[in-house]
Amino acid sequence: MKTIIRGTWLFLALIIGGCGDKIDLEAAAVPLAAGIDLDDNNQLRFYVSNPVFGDKNNEEQQYNIPVTSLRESRSIQDAYTSGALEGRNYQVYVVGRKLLQHENWFKILDVVFRDARNTVLDRMVAFNGPLEEMFTVKTDNQPPLPVILRGMVDSKSKRGATVLTTVQDMHRQIFEEALTPSLSEVTYDAKQKSFRLSGTTLLTHKGKYATSIGFQESVLLNLLKKDATKGVSLSFAIPGEPNSDFFSLNRASFSVRDIDTKIKSSYSNNNFHFLIRMKVSAAMTEQLFTLDIQQHADILERKLSQQMQKQLEKLIRKFQKHQIDPVGFGIYARAYQYRHYKENENNWGEAFSDAEIKCEVKVTINSMGTVK
């Protein structure tokens, strides 16, 4: 009897394996970068880059197809590849500028979240130009497209020069009324024949393109968001210092040793007020003009603080002009002025553009480097 039972179990274990949907690696096509954009006829196109495994280096198969939805596109994509397509684990999702001109494009990506088998930590990148360009360009002597893009975003965001937005983060930012989304921005440099990370793309609440910011502004944005890790570097032109004709000699740069950002919110006169207090302890990394830091540290500190404060205020005015809030001031407003925030919840961008924002920056130099 026991043998019969054991035999039955063994038999069942052999025949009811859960491997009905297995794919051999040899027969799989593994797309690593995906892109969505509108083409010249305003038709939605899906761009894919598959690495081709073989002797030759850096071969990629790149193609683009017109689609109506991403899930539907899989069968069409499949027709282009030699193997079974395994499009669940992209490294990067690239969005073209033309698509970003339209609201609510993010809903296209629904399949990524609805189908539990997809990964959600793919980096999202905004491409400054038509995607056609990105996916047809052959970059010799460079790693394949997905590897460059992911590497760029991961390493630059660590230094604060851009934001790290995964597909999941984007989902969070779109659903958070108190915040507007921001993406890493990549540009194709035709002269250098290579891609270049150019900063951060800021979107409106509905996902429409609002404006772009460069490196230094991205660092400031990250400092405001409290996302910046120690060691981010800032550089300022100090007014009043002599300048040369051909190159600027009035610059001072420092890397941030320690940062303490405090944002306080209040409400009066039908307006939100935010007070940003930023305490930066800096290690000087570059100073092109002569100034005895040992004697006059306070002068340099004051000047740096002024410059930083000016740039912050300029950046925030830029946000307000475009009615966007990538920092998430709305979260502070919701936490501390709940009632007033609730009244403005559905048009936070507008309410934020009327808000009064004050910055107080205090830079302390705690290291001047190895030379005076």
């Binding site: 539990a116 009324e177 919701r334 936490a335």
Partner: protein, 367 residues
């Protein structure tokens, strides 16, 4: 020798069985439901639910103090007679059967969405039945060991939930009481679903070796459940924004998708597989208690034969019909309502009856 002494239950095993039923059945749905009712204040409802649950669970222990060598059914038989005890047994059996079925159904649906999309749920169910039968046929003693083993094996699991916190936004939680107490109170009936399961005391009490600590044990189980729900709910609230929270079906699993290791993508696959162990703590004891109730009613036979019958019944039923996700959510709502009656109101009624009866009896003796 009494059958209860033959399969003794230690204090911790008793705590883990109760906490296992409570956690297993509701951990996935509680954060979402709390957010739906009370927004980010929902966590307060979990604490309130914990306070409320202490009363009926202590009363349950109090009732059982009158019956150190028999389950609730034996107690009712002694006080009210066998013919009144049988309807009670059937009610308990139906309730526990519903609980076991909901636990199983949830597990099947989760496995189908997240793990094995192309495998027939019937085959998954048959595979789940193997450990279920092996554990339940040995009775309470084995249940206790199983619950204990699962708890020791999975006790590190909550700590993984601390990882998403570094990307979270604590400001989501404040202001506390943003819409006043009303939404929080409206969430309380739903939160009681998370604490269903202390009914197990009715069946475990006679097995306990240290009966003195039964009250403390049930409170400890409630507290473990509360801490676990509170931790996971807070992590979900801090990670997801208030409006996104309602949008996600299983925030408890989705939040895991955002954890990233260099060597591992889709960490949630491993976690759901581990969670199956935790869910099994809800249906395995419930199935056993149900089989026990049925055995008790028919007065004889072995629990084992009822178990085989129940498993076959559920198996065949699932082969022909598997409820959808929406239907399972509806079943949970019904279960919560019935559970409030069976686990919260019934113990109070029984206790009041017993107290009055005792008083009347004493007065008769005096008079």
């Amino acid at each position: 020798m009494s059958p209860f002494v033959k399969s003794p239950l230690s204090f911790l095993q008793y705590v883990f069985i109760i906490a296992g039923i409570q956690i297993g059945i509701a951990i996935l749905s509680i954060p979402r439901e709390m957010a739906r009712f009370a927004g980010t204040d929902g966590w307060i409802a979990i604490v309130l639910g914990w306070l409320i649950t202490s009363i009926p669970s202590l009363l349950t222990v109090q009732i059982m103090k009158g019956s150190p060598d028999g389950t609730i059914l034996d107690l009712i038989k002694k006080k009210l007679g066998r013919w009144l005890a049988i309807p009670f047994a059937l009610v308990f059996a139906a309730y526990l059967g519903g609980m076991a079925y909901i636990g199983l159904l949830r597990t099947l649906l989760i496995i189908r969405v997240w793990l094995l999309q192309n495998t027939s749920p019937f085959i998954v169910l048959v595979l789940l039945f193997i450990p279920t039968y092996i554990v339940t046929r040995e009775g309470t003693n084995m249940l206790g060991r199983f619950a204990e083993a699962i708890f020791y094996f999975l006790c590190w699991l909550p700590f993984i939930y601390l990882l998403p916190l570094k990307e979270g936004q604590w400001l989501n939680i404040i202001p506390i009481l943003k819409e006043g107490w009303l939404p929080i109170l409206s969430a309380v009936p739903t939160v009681l679903f998370a604490y269903l399961g202390f009914i197990a005391v009715f069946f475990l009490y006679p097995h306990l070796t240290h009966k003195k600590h039964a009250g403390a044990g049930v409170l400890l189980a409630n507290t473990i459940t509360m801490m676990m729900n509170l931790l996971i709910t807070l992590v979900c609230f801090v990670y997801f924004s208030p409006s996104e929270m309602i949008e996600v079906n299983q925030p408890v699993i989705s939040v895991l998708k955002t954890i990233q290791f260099k060597f591992l993508e889709r960490i949630e696959i491993i976690f759901i597989s581990l969670y199956i162990g935790l869910y099994s703590l809800s249906w395995i004891p419930a199935l056993y208690f149900m089989a026990y109730c049925l055995k008790w009613t028919t007065n004889g036979a072995r629990v084992r034969s009822y178990l085989i019958g129940l498993l076959a019944f559920i198996g065949i039923g699932t082969y022909f019909y598997l409820p959808t996700f929406n239907q399972s959510v509806w079943l949970e709502y019904m279960m919560t309502r019935i559970g409030i009656v069976v686990e919260y109101i019934l113990p109070i009624v029984i206790w009041i009856y017993l107290v009055i009866r005792e008083k009347v009896r004493r007065e008769e003796q005096l008079g």
